[in-house]
Amino acid sequence: MNNPFIVLPVIFQLFVAVILMFSWNSKNLQKLISVIGSLIALLISLLLLIQVRQEGIQSMQAGGWMAPFGITFVADTFSALLVLLTAISGLAVSVFSVGSIRNARVKFGYFPILHLLIMGLSGAFLTGDIFNLYVWFEIIIISSFVLLTIGGEKAQIEGAIKYVTMNLLASVIFLTAIAILYGLTGSLNMADLSLQIAQVENRGLVNVTAILFLIGFGIKSAVFPLYFWLPASYHTPPPAISAIFGGLLTKVGVYALLRVFSLIFVPDDFLASVIAILAMLTMLTGGVGALIQNNIRKVFSYLIICHIGFMLAGLGIYSTIAIAGAIFYLVHDIIVKTNLFMVSGLIFKFKGTYSMRLLGGFYKDKPLLSLLMAVPLFSLVGIPPLSGFWGKLMLIKGAIATSNILIIAFIILGSFLTLFIIARMWAAVFWKDGAALPKKKQIKYFEELKPLKRKAMISSIAFLSLISLAIGFGAEWIMQMAIHIAENLMDPSAYIQAVLGI
């Protein structure tokens, strides 16, 4: 099977980025290209998912070199689904950027880099080669690093330094792990590695290598105690950038963890308990962190950590149901976190602050908008049947099946903290009377924007809210996929077959 179509989501983004670079001097053209490009990318990803669902796992051997000799790209349901979600988030952020990103940034390559970031994410989801995964990670790091820093003042730069240092440390650890894998097996193809690593007699070394992967990807997924870069940086860049970060960056780490710890390494008891403990502490850390924040973007940042704990718990429990839960949660979280950072951006556009203490009065002034923003907020909480609920349900199912009451307790704690925090935020930002804040000169307020820009911002939020609702109410659809994905992760023979033909 050699289906070149599966790299199209990646290549197409590169193509769009190149075209954008060529239109360097025309801001409006760039915006147009970006939105149209993102739309087409969404279509492509949708077609890919449909194809994978209908015809099974697709693979492409780049350059026609049969695996494991070339670089293999593999689209199973997991990858295709994540690529689709990336495209959805990408489209939303692109549209949101049209409304919210300053022209000065557009002049300095905002859009090309945004598309290259999305390309990197899609590439990471699709690749079947461990070193190629490293390369995709690097493109993600550099593009996010650039997006985070450019045009930045103090806070942004400080955040970026922390962000990039820890992520580069993660890369080095990852690279070290790849070196060891190569030393042990002589292979880089993940499917091939799956077979080769099973034959390594020195299991101790395999376990040590697994630790390196755990930490490397753990840093990227912002797991306790490796998460520090996230709260230090996510609240600093323009909201459109926070949105794509919040939605996708950590998720790629989670994806990598799930993939590597099912395909290449199967966690032994020690590792599984380490993962489970980390998951619980991650929930706790994210939850309590969010609890004491006042800046809404910081609240969301910590909640990302908290919810990464949920996904990690799925891996720690390591059963089909639990992993399906983690995957469902992943799907939900990508959409909702992207949306929430856009929501925070919109709030800022109205009031000129992210501080909950100062904000207020939305519910009275903007009832429809409040309703719109309530969708991602309460989806995040997981008020059933909104999207956040289903993954959690599956996780608890998985934990019950293994009688892991402690994990349940932490999931309950994490969920409760999320509920409390969001409800409190609702009370503070929407219910509380908003004293009219003094208008700051350096902020362009929502009312001052052109109608097209306003519509762009609101429609992107509406778009993702609709998707969230669809995930919640149409849970069956995602659930089938999540279970299918989890089954395929637990038994990767189909994946290996699709790549190596054995």
Binding site: T176, F228, G289, L291, I292, I383, P384, F430
Partner: protein
Amino acid sequence: MLIAVISGFVFALLVPWIMAQSKSKTTIWTALLPLAIFTFFLLHLPEIQNDGSVKVSYSWVPSIGINLDFYLDGLSMLFVLLISGIGSLVFVYTSTYLKGHPFLDRFYAYLSMFMASMLGLVLSDNIYTLFIFWELTSISSFFLIGFNNDNQASRRSALTALSVTGIGGLFLLAAMVGLGHTAQVNQISEMSSLSEIIQADNLYGWIIVFLFLAAFTKSAQFPFHFWLPGAMKAPTPVSTYLHSATMVKAGIYLLARFSPVLGGHEWWNGTLITVGAITMVYAAIHALFRLDLKGILAYSTISALGILVFLIGLGTSAAFLAAAVFILVHALYKATLFLVTGIIDHETGTRDISQLGGLNKVMLPVGVAALLAAISNAGIPPSFGFVGKDLIYDATLGMGDLAWILTTLAVITNIALLFAGFLAGIKPFFGKLPERFAKLHLPGPAMYIPPLILGVLCMFFGLLPFLLESSLIQPVVSSFTETLPDIHLKLWHGFNLILLLSAVTIGAGTALYFIIKPSEKLLAMVSRFERISPESIAMLASGGFTRFSSGWTKFFQNGYLRYYLITILSFLSLLLAYRLFTGVTLYLDTSSMTAVTFYEVVVLVIMAVAILFTVFSKSRLVAVASMGVVGYSFCLIFLFYSAPDLAMTQFSIDTLTVILFVLVLYNLPKYLKLSETRDRIRDGLLSLFFGALISLLTIEVMNESVDKETSQYYAENAYVLGKGKNVVNVILVDFRGFDTMVEITVLAIAAIGVFGLLKLHLRSTEKE
């Protein structure tokens, strides 16, 4: 049935729109929906008699067995009728109570949503949909309690209510999942036959713990009761609907519903009796000292809920019967009292019981309703309350050894409750009318007719209890228990112990009413104990948790990058070391290694010294230069070991890096503030430990030599298939060309980044 449930949600969405469209200010028409639902279910009443039930199922998320299974039996029928019946009255009442309120549309939306959720909850046969509707009741009540959202107290109590019920909801989820796991089915109606299997499962204990937490929080059982008095900040229709008649009874419903599945076990019954008893007594006594009408009602409601839990805990069919009747009794009189309180509040502007009196003179119909309710509450014949109280005593007396203790507790509770009922239903209307209230008028009929209807019903069912006997109560009880008791509801049982107890209750309660005069002083006296009340403890705990959160967060996220790195690296080192020293046999195989040569050693020595020099040099530029030396030594190493391409690239890149550094560094000040020696030693040890681990690991991996199939393939095919003789280059542009493609993209991004970083200067600090 689905339509009945869904319609509420749809209605919630439509209400604001319809109201925006219609010009008329009356909103009484909204009551048509609950009324229609009430009628719909009333028509189903015959179907559930004689053990009958109605079952419908709609597929939703079949892959995990979550479907919209609905099940209508006696128990659900009782609740459904309460929900839609009282709902209708509340809708009507609201149309006047909140007339002209700017957000009335939203209020109706939440109210319908809440009603629909309640309906869904009591009709669900699927454990998961049960949970879903349960959560929806919490969330819609959050919006209802916080409806007056510019009031800080109102926001706070909404938050408290949501927190308590929300965490309960999560426990319910855990309970349901556990139940589904042990029973292997998701339909409650199919679980009662699996009761033994479930109770034998290891998870049984956890399941009931979770379930209790859910039920006790929702139904305001001690020690989770404190959210309920706070929730009285909500507009009165909300208090009436949620906090007396319906939502708080969801916990009772839950316990009742699962009694046949989980009940009968000593853990189950023991806990329920204990918690129920504590709650009913504790709350009843608390009700004695309140001044706020709503506060009195809130505590008496908690007490009533305690009675219900207590009864379910008793687990006998007599107790179930008592519970079934008491649910109805309580709903009727308590809703009446709440609605009345709302009218008083609405008209007089106060709910302070010490300031109220003689209102009969200005609003007689309201007073009548209140009186009827108070009588029923007191259990004075011929009210329906009398029937209920009789059944309670009947149930407690049937408990064998414990009968006396339990009965005493019930009597004490009932005395206090009677007092509270009088306080709320009689005190405001009799006695002297304060002058400032002299000019008050009867509110609109939409407000006083609903309580009147309910008040009358309190009497009506008392006089004609048999109307309910087989139509409703018997089906209810039959859904609790297989062994159907012979049920005869009647007012008069003849002279017996129960009658005596009733008389004692009424007498003592009435006496109390005349002795205790609620006052600030009394309230203050009681308040002294609040420091040890569950609420204070919860607040203390939550304060503690916040402090813990703050400490935990600031400890880890302290702002110093190097501590972050230290944490990460220590964690990594520990895990690595553990796995390396426990799982790997360390040895060194030198057989396949290459010989040591002088010139290589020289290069390595230079490299090592240059590394150290880089680390310890006091000037940036010198560090950069010696980093250059490191790079150039690398270049030689690559050369010695047959990697000319690498050597070239390393060399060019190192030179460029040095140039970049040099271009950047010229305007930086000198290194300042060297860290303390202690820090440096700590960092040095950590670094060396980590470095040593990596070295060890490398040696061990080197021992495991493998044939590299991929390399062999490249060696054979680079020229034949790839048409190139420099195999490394063929790999880069062909075999692994994709890496290179990404690699140059990385470079391009870096360049754009550098360009923007130095050239983009945002005007002022304009923010996005």
